[in-house]
Symmetry: C4
Subunit: 281 residues, 4 copies
């Protein structure tokens, strides 16, 4: 069946990254996404936006046409079109083309800017490609392993900024820019993260003293997420896990010096037999 | 004795977190605390505060009633009511309800805001729950182990900001915003923590040069607390490995999720059987 | 010889920290130094400075008298008075009392503020005490071990801020606040250390683009000193060096599992014989 | 052949750093480069620039003459003059002298400033010298090893600032300073790197909420490059240990400054005999 072969070839090329054609397609797609984003971005800079309105609109239609063809091809060659359409990337792909069509029906300047923004989400495809890189995997795994610790850390930060924000609201009051508790919490976040815009800052002596405390606290708790992620990365690096797969239960994540699977106890390939640096995926 | 059983059940539910009912109670309590805080926060935003004054006051009374019932139940079911009432959380629980009752007797707009603020301290109960999580324990223990080093570090920072603050006060003087040494110390803290509001900054060439030195110093001493906490976490993490010993080959150094010895393949004690947190209170 | 015994007792008390009297003296001295500094600091805040001028001057004379007695006692009981007078702390101790006497001869408001500032240097005595703490030693040793790496790092930062400062000077020019290359280097330091006062910032599009590059660079090189110090601390912590002393060459800094001195090869006390946690110095 | 010997001596002195004469030449050169840069920098500060115009121009010509002689000597003594002229440092050396000659032909105030700036690049020679230091090598190798991870990290940051920049552009709009998407991306970079100039900041409540999210995100992803570099440095530092092997008991893991085996006390190869930097170029 020739159709099937073509369909499969399309599937491997469009969805996969292991064939040469697949890689060419992915790189072309990324170039197209970034170019369309650059055009979108340039279209917000005055006076260029007004002067080249027609040209920018034309390029916009061209990219929409290209992404529409790509979307239809993805639907066609996917073994489960409905599953693809409902998946995260399926929705993102649709959202990348829908705005331009909607704009033809509902012309509205401000609304157009918002819906065009959705195109930005397409850039996540670039992230998807990045996932195939080994180093990226390590970064992601470190962040994933540390997810609970980071969550706890953010809960603590949330409590601290609430308490300090409310304290400054009471000390400084609406006259010095601390107009409400949410505004004061915003100030506390700006301060504890050491951003310090300078749009709101304490004016009274007591307010300055509490602010100094918040800063020094922020300064030292800044160390906590760094410590979490560094420690996870150290673990990941020294262990060099995930390289070996158990022949029995197929689970990975074994350390380099492991002789038996830590999940089922089966013997693993000896370290010398293992592919130490499997850079070719 | 039925009373005792009910009392014990109440105690386990309200104070404990190990039964299903206890967990439901804790989660409901946290939801109630956060909701009451959100209402408190919304009540400071104009023009909503004025417009919905009656509604917000009603919700405030409702939560006060709820927390009063909770406080009385805690006093009733606690084996040592006096000890509870005098404990940190006992005082916090009382402070959470007292302000609203005080407000009925002493109606005063500004005073009301300050006493309402005490409600925020109740959020520490959330922290208490967080303590039961293993990862939180690790974070806390790392911070606890590093407490002396962090104290020494802050002493050094205190000396540095005093010296640099006084130096800038002499160089810049009151005309450039450095009105007093405490104000200049505030500037030094804002600078060394890299917050940099921009409300006070050096104007003279010499002041700018010293400020640049303060910044670079701050930049590099920012590394010290990070180093302290990261090193402690690394110690904690590698310590977690050595807890389990293989019953067959007696080798240690297994990871926390290991079920089989990585050296000989023997079954290890399951994670639930292990003493995960040997210093549990 | 009774004089000698008194002299020796004074020496041990004033210069040493190992006897109880010595510790009491040191703590009293620190309290006196900090109190005199607090008075000095309060004396710069208007309108208190003008209102309590007489009281503040009196307290100043009292502390000067106390520190003069202390200085004379140190000279008297020191085995080598000349060596003490020429040492760093000897000069600092003299500078702490000299300004007030000078002020009696040369009354000058602004000059007085500058000379009074020298009192701040006395706070280094506090640091001296801090040195006796074990954890402080570890921090200091980590910083000392990393001194060359930190120096190289600052050389790189110096080169980067020169290049970026000069670049922004050419791009933005004197009209946008970048009045000279030193001013632009100041901007580069404010930016790369993420302080960001907002007194000078790029206005042109190209300037903003280069500034964004400087920020991202600063963001990632911020990691370098942290990495240096954390790695040194990790080494210090895992090795737990300095505990054991070689019986032959008296050098310390051996690792916990060392059986022989790494400097002269002599046998060391076996790990079990060693005082593992010699908290008492 | 005397010429050859002189040529070789010149080559070893000018290009090498291993002889005493070579080190003296390098240090003199660095002093000359830094002095010429200081003169260049001072020449941009008004009113000195106008007042000492003749003196500064004279010093400029003197240094240009010196660097011209150096450039010609480098061309003369280099075994492959063409290769040197085309190399990175060859081009930098030429660019350091060319501007002054060009200025004689094309006198133009603003153009002069830009071309003079190229002199700054000469400072890279200092970096070249720094490379010979062992600690610098370790820093560089850590950064080199982490280059792929840092690249992936910056790709993620680029995507995040694009998404958040575009979001704030839509929320705040041109009236609140977010005039275009590139301007909003600039704001996102200023915020995520915690610089926070305060030239652009969110004004609306929704904008402030999203900005708070950006800050907290920036706060925690600040940890990622630190984690990467620290983990690499840890690896480098522990790797440095395993290089030396005891000739008697064949055990490794000795520290860099160890003269005797810590296990059996045998003498180790002295640090100078060891291959300190096995990948020297």
């Amino acid at each position: 069946m020739k159709t099937n072969t073509t369909k499969h070839w399309l599937y491997v090329t469009i969805f996969g990254t292991h064939t040469k054609a697949g890689r060419i397609f992915d790189i072309s797609l990324i170039v197209a996404i970034i170019t369309s984003l650059v055009v979108l971005v340039l279209g917000t800079i005055e006076p260029y936006a007004s002067r080249y309105q027609t040209e920018l609109a034309l390029i916009e239609y061209l990219f929409t046409a290209l992404f529409t063809i790509e979307y239809l091809l993805r639907l066609y060659c996917s073994p489960k079109p409905a599953a693809y359409a409902k998946s995260f990337y399926g929705v993102v792909d649709l959202l990348a083309i829908l705005p331009t069509y909607l704009q033809l029906i509902v012309p509205n300047a401000h609304f157009a800017v918002i819906i065009r923004l959705l195109r930005v989400m397409r850039i996540f495809r670039v992230l998807k490609l990045v996932q195939y890189l080994k180093d990226s995997n390590m970064l992601m795994r470190s962040l994933f392993m540390a997810r609970r610790k980071i969550l706890i850390f953010f809960s603590m930060v949330a409590i601290l900024v609430t308490i300090f924000g409310a304290t400054l609201y009471v000390i400084e009051g609406p006259d010095n820019g601390f107009t409400s508790i949410p505004m004061s919490i915003y100030w506390a976040i700006v301060t504890i993260t050491t951003v310090g815009y300078g749009d709101i800052y304490p004016v009274t002596a007591l307010g300055k003293a509490v602010a100094a405390l918040v800063m020094l606290l922020g300064y030292s708790i800044l160390a906590v997420p760094t410590g979490i992620i560094t420690a996870e990365m150290n673990q990941e690096m020294s262990a060099h896990r995930t390289l070996v797969k158990c022949p029995n239960c197929a689970k990975t994540g074994h350390e380099n010096d492991a002789l038996h699977c830590k999940h089922c106890g089966s013997e693993l390939a000896t370290p010398s037999e293992r592919v130490v640096n499997p850079d070719e995926d």
